[in-house]
Symmetry: C2
Subunit: 171 residues, 2 copies
DNA sequence: TCAATTTGCTTAGTAAAGCTAATAATTTTT
DNA sequence: AAAAATTATTAGCTTTACTAAGCAAATTGA
């Protein structure tokens, strides 16, 4: 296996472990992983608004509104109309919300931090440099690729021969 | 910001880009990202069953069934009752399903491969070592929580017969 | 100034993806 | 043979996500 594939495989492994683990952690405080992520994000963001959170989370505003509704229903956040722009609503964590965050000390993250901290300084630096390098490799194209990503760009040959089968379904 | 947090942040960035991009790619062939992932997994797995795919995907059997229903409705897979254990259904990609996979050449992955391949050998090695190191740091604890199987345990060539056994199943 | 546009958030409606629990059909075990 | 376990599915529900439409506030421009 060449280095490219091995690297991608390791990345997928990281991704999977992180993903699966996130669920467990969130469930342990009675939230879902997305809700917990949002709560955390709101806490770390200064003057968080639905918009800013949506951008950071990479989802639509409507989605964030729905999520905030749930968090608000559980008294973890409050929405305060901004003094600066009265269209905006500033998202604030309640004490209870903050407590919930503190009650969810991500064990994976803590463990990772612990293990990482135990490494030699030079290795820490190397790992940091590596992930930043990889992130930049990925970022670069995501910007380039996204705008003109269309269906038939490379397709060419493989004309989709739709076999005769069930025609009556939604997708 | 200390190195631990910076590393975690970069990882999150990688995760996010990958995630967002996966959606676009899948949409470009008219599938969702999960459906595409499942299709790919089914293709790579020898004698794939709902169970084995569920384990590899880290979701429940019921979820896989629902996903397979959708892929089957679009004539991308077929289910053939196993000759060995008639409870099982072997998941096979149709020609159309295989074509769909080929039509979805992940541009991010290709681009990443391209950029990665353009790096100096020593840097490739360094990056690979780094992600594997990180993956191992993460894995170590995940094993404690929820041990999962390794991918591709190729259980020998026990079943040479590709079953054309059963053609008569609806839906 | 005041109409037109843009921006920020919400609502409504829909779909995908995930779960658990229950069921049926097979093994496998006792 | 009866009991237990395994495999796939179904049914019903929740969460996450989207788009489209709407309202309210801010900004623009003529």
């Amino acid at each position: 296996m060449d280095r490219t594939n091995a690297t991608l495989t390791a990345l997928r492994r990281i991704l999977r472990v992180t993903e699966l683990h996130g669920k467990d952690v969130a469930r342990s405080v009675g939230l879902t992983s997305v809700q917990l992520r949002l709560l955390k994000l709101a806490h770390e963001t200064k003057d968080a608004t639905a918009k800013s959170l949506a951008v950071k989370l990479g989802v639509s505003q409507a989605t964030v509104t729905a999520l905030l509704d749930k968090l608000a229903a559980r008294c973890m956040i409050e929405r305060h109309i901004s003094c600066v722009d009265r269209r905006q609503k500033i998202i604030c964590l309640t004490d209870f919300g903050i407590a919930a965050l503190n009650d969810a000390p991500d064990p994976m993250q803590r463990n990772f931090a612990h293990r990482f901290g135990a490494l030699e300084e030079w290795e820490q630096s190397m790992l940091l440099a590596a992930v930043e390098r990889i992130a930049s490799l990925l970022d670069a194209e995501s910007l380039r690729v996204a705008p003109f990503l269309t269906v038939g760009e490379i397709a060419g040959e493989c004309q989709p021969i739709t076999p005769d089968c069930d025609e009556s379904q939604d997708q």
